[in-house]
């Protein structure tokens, strides 16, 4: 019986540690994607400023309330504008930001393909 209770406690402690690690990981991901508005080029995760400390408190509260990452970002964007998040939202005005890398990737691939084909043709001739 004592062994059963022992394993039971260990199991719950293990679950608690796992859960807290998940929470920490999620918090850290959110902090890294938030810009510290009063610092030079630092994220909320990197900054020890007063503003960053307050944002961390608010994010922690919202995570504890069960809000999702997107809900937290939407809340902060409504208060500070889109500048507060590093990753731009997928919207009409940001479309070029999202599409451009894929476009350059495809265009680059095509460019290399044509160059290689041309040099092969030249060699064959």
């Amino acid at each position: 019986m004592k062994i059963k209770i022992f394993f039971f406690i260990i199991y719950f402690l293990f679950l608690a540690v796992l859960n807290s690690n998940d929470n920490k990981k999620e918090l850290s991901e959110i902090y890294k994607n938030l810009r510290c508005l009063v610092c030079q080029g630092q994220s909320i995760a990197d900054s020890n400023s007063d503003f960053a400390a307050t944002i961390k408190l608010v994010v922690q509260d919202q995570v504890n309330e069960g809000k999702t990452k997107d809900e937290i970002y939407t809340f902060l964007i409504s208060k500070y504008g889109e500048w507060i998040v590093y990753q731009p939202t997928f919207s009409k005005s940001n479309l070029i930001l999202w599409i451009l890398p894929y476009f350059i990737f495809i265009a680059g691939g095509l460019f290399i393909f044509f160059i290689v084909r041309k040099s092969k043709n030249n060699k064959a001739n």
Binding site: L37, V38, D50, F51, A53, T54, I55, L57, V58, D61, L76, S78, K79, Y80, G81, W83, A107, F111, F114, I115
Partner: protein
């Protein structure tokens, strides 16, 4: 004259990137939240600094034609500089109510600050941990937000209120 496709692609890319850099240089990089003028403030509950049972929320602000929400602290030097303008606003004009939110401060220091310099506020709330400031989009002290009775942000004053800002607020509320 035959121009190859690859040359056109390279040339287009160069033009594109130069235009992006040129436009980027022309954009003002100083961030502020003034772009949020026109948005509405919502979901707040501010407790009075000396009375836990007294608070204000959205409904209270809807009763005022104009409300100036001012974030201040006794430790903030620019807050002392803008205080005379807040006092003038509260004395001169009855169309505006001023709400002071004491930011990350000690109650005793805040009360002494208002005793020494005068109290321009119709209500003094507290924001001990700064969380309320986030719901108002504040990122520095002092900062003031002018809202109308629909709770729409009409003006944001980032930093201390000066003569120009003061006159601007008077003009808006006339």
């Amino acid at each position: 004259m035959k121009i190859s496709i690859s040359k056109i692609i390279i040339f287009s890319f160069i033009i594109f990137f130069l235009s992006v850099f040129w436009l980027g240089l022309k954009i003002d990089n100083n961030y502020d939240t003034k772009s949020l003028i026109g948005s509405k403030i919502s979901n707040f509950h501010i407790t009075e600094i000396n009375n836990e049972n007294q608070y204000i929320s959205e409904e209270d602000l809807r009763k005022n034609k104009y409300t100036l929400i001012n974030f201040f602290a006794s430790w903030c030097a620019p807050c002392r500089a803008e205080h005379k303008y807040l006092l003038s606003l509260s004395n001169q004009n009855k169309r505006i109510k001023i709400i002071g939110i004491n930011f990350k401060d000690k109650k005793i220091n805040a009360n002494n600050f208002l005793k020494d310099l005068g109290n321009p506020y119709n209500f003094v709330g507290k924001d001990t941990d700064g969380k309320i400031s986030i719901s108002f989009g504040i990122y520095g002290i002092p900062e003031s937000i002018l809202v109308n009775n629909e709770l729409t942000v009409i003006k944001k004053i980032i930093g201390p209120i000066d003569q120009v800002q003061f006159e601007d607020v008077l003009k808006i509320i006339q």
